[in-house]
Assembly symmetry: C2
Homo-oligomer: 407 residues x 2
DNA sequence: AGTATATAGTTCAAAGTTTGAACAATCGCT
DNA sequence: AGCGATTGTTCAAACTTTGAACTATATACT
């Protein structure tokens, strides 16, 4: 029950029906492949003729292809259709505080190559380095001619339309335009997005078990805490690309000081830094962020802490359980407010999900409005090891499969 | 950029284009009336012939009608079109703790009659009373044959599909089905919705100055605190109709006890009860809810408090300003998280908006992620005196103007 | 081996749309 | 009265889905 915006609408032309059905076919092949024309017709409750027309069009455009023939009890064998993914490539980039990740992926999100290097904090230098490495990676894998774009995930707010990085506190960037020089240097279209939003896209488009719901949130817990919100199959960006910044919702107005300058933020309780600070008895407010983040002198990371907790260090366990509790309490705010079909949580802490789940669940139950909300499925990010990189890849692939804009 | 749900999609038929354009025309007439066919053609960038076809169809169905002819500098005069609203009626019902409101409205949301009576807390008795009053009101205004439905706003969670009131704490109702008996007794379709969500619908469909944006939230502050979320012109209900329950997000984990059983909820700081409690120095946790709500013995209301604050009572001012501050702090959570184009706030406290605005703004700025977010337009509900009743009316009228479901 | 039956995929005409141009209806101005 | 501009209608062409008939291919049964 959507209201049509009388100042920004899309009139239907005589090819609108075709565009809609074309995208439906494409998505059905994506989801159910291998699938035959006749199956598509049954699923869509449409004549097989229409499917044939559309399928031929999609084959001609190189979006799908005919594969093996299937088996039936009787009658002519169906020819299976597949989405063409294995020879269409994407470069995915994940810029983090310590290191930058570079991945070559196909359209199915499968990793073909991966390299890492120390992040350069000067945008110009970073772009220069990226251009060289992208070219080299594409050449090494014969993917130069079939690469359709570059997706970049960054830890900060991004104006998705212009591609400008508005504010990336951990990198110390404000109003940085990576897109223009990177696009010029590689001759490829470049898409940039905030990391938690990218993770949500990864879950939506590249989730392992195609059963990703149409309404969910992705909670990214790492150096910071951010949320990617998907409603009706659409990533919510908000007026200023800020949507999803639940990391700075207060748990306590007189709680610990947060790196953002405010007090008692959810992030100040559950970020990797906050967890480390709890273990070491640091006061987050007293520390320079760099001090904790920098690998140089203090190379004890959250992963080390989790390992200690797992191996029986009682103080480490307590610190992690503290984070678990606050994770659950803050999660209640998001789940009460948006009531999604499920939550994905990503971040290093989720490697210890088996340890923290009971605590998270109990804290969530304390503040959830209903039992159903308390029982919202919580899933460990299903997109494998590098959700941010997969999300960056999804930035490039998603537009091809998205629903046409209409009405 | 929406993903098509491969398990729940809508195939385009050969009349889909027409349905889309038909609804666009209908909405353009609604928004820009009076408007001519030629104007519609220009706005939609479509031939005048298509408009003529659609307009004739809409006139035949009684949705719009031809009015006066307009003026032009040269050439044939245009005939203006209007949406038929004045002789299509709706019954709107607002069930509140103390009293129940009953309004007869036309499709434009204009009030034609209004009556009030003490809420009966037994659902059966209330329905019986409502049936009698609805019939009487329709007869008195010759609206029996032209009434197209009943909309009901209730202070609690509602399963919008089945119409069952899942939980209305202030009324003490759980799993109450008002819809079936009310529909049977009046022979009218009945739509029931949670009050803040209804208010959001009112703002979207009946906002005074047609400039309601497509992404906004409605914060309803009364006995409880709830939020109606509209994203992409669509009211967000969530998996279990819980979406929008930001009222119980914590401001402080060791804050005042809330009526919901939890601690430190936003609602426990800013609801009318909380404001009164702050004034009287009560501890909200010590009081039976009824004690404060019941008009019987303690008939000092939030409106009385606001009057005292306005007339110089310093303790009253302090209590109200306290509420203003916490309103702003909690608002930051919602605005950071959803980043809407604007916020509407409704409730008794907004009669004192001139007094509290600076405090709200400052508190919001303290916790807003960006300056732009801090400057999100805050509007006093524009739908006049009875947002809940207008919202109830919108429940009936909205489906007629909504975009068709597609793809 | 030959026939019947079932399923996959294609072909073709009919019906519903938009599209684009031409046409009819007004109205003001000279 | 005639010209030009604007509104609204009519008609054929182009693009869709729709529904039925048709071809291709495989299995089951006699």
């Amino acid at each position: 029950m959507r209201k049509i915006n009388p100042y920004d609408f899309q009139v239907a032309t005589r090819s609108t029906s075709r565009e809609i059905n074309r995208q439906i076919v494409l998505n059905l092949v994506r989801e159910h492949q291998p699938i035959s024309r006749a199956d598509l017709a049954r699923r869509m409750k449409v004549g097989r003729n229409v499917i044939s027309m559309i399928v031929n069009e999609l084959i001609a455009e190189g979006l799908i292809y005919e594969g093996a023939t299937g088996k039936t009890v009787r009658g002519r064998k169906p020819t299976f259709l597949h989405v063409r993914t294995h020879d269409r490539f994407v470069i995915a980039i994940d810029i983090r505080f310590s290191r930058t990740f570079l991945m070559l992926s196909d359209f199915g999100g499968h990793q073909l190559a991966l390299e890492t290097f120390d992040t350069l904090f000067t945008p110009d230098e970073l772009v220069e380095e990226l251009i060289v490495r992208v070219q080299r990676m594409l050449n090494a894998h014969n993917a130069t001619s079939n690469c359709e774009g570059i997706g970049v995930a960054v830890p900060g707010m991004v104006d998705h339309r212009t591609g400008v990085i508005l504010n990336a506190p951990t990198l110390g960037w404000r109003d940085v335009d990576l897109r223009t020089p990177l696009a010029k240097g590689t001759a490829l279209p470049v898409y940039i997005e905030n990391a938690p939003k990218a993770c949500a896209l990864a879950e939506m488009w590249l989730g392992r078990n195609g059963a990703t719901p149409n309404n969910f949130v992705f909670v990214a817990v790492s150096d910071g805490v951010g949320v990617g919100i998907v409603i009706n199959g659409e990533l919510i960006r908000g007026r200023d690309n800020v949507a999803g910044e639940f990391g700075h919702a207060p748990l306590s107005l007189d709680g610990p000081r947060c790196l953002c300058g405010s007090v008692g933020c959810w992030e100040a309780y559950i970020s990797n830094l906050a967890t480390l600070a709890r273990y070491f008895g640091y006061d987050l407010s007293r520390l320079k962020p760099k001090k904790l983040l920098d690998d140089g002198e203090n190379d004890f990371t959250i992963n080390d802490l989790l390992a200690r907790a797992r191996s029986g260090d009682e103080r480490a366990r307590a610190a992690v359980q503290g984070t678990a509790r606050y994770l659950g309490l803050g999660l209640a705010t998001v789940l009460n407010g948006l009531n999604p079909e499920c939550v994905y949580i990503g971040g290093e802490i989720m490697t210890a999900w088996d340890m923290i789940e009971p605590t998270v669940r109990q804290a969530l139950a304390e503040r959830a409005m209903t039992e159903r909300v308390a029982q919202t499925p919580i899933r460990v990010s299903t997109v494998g090891e590098y959700p941010r990189l997969r999300g960056a890849a999804a930035l490039v692939t998603a537009p091809i499969f998205a629903a046409p804009r209409v009405a």
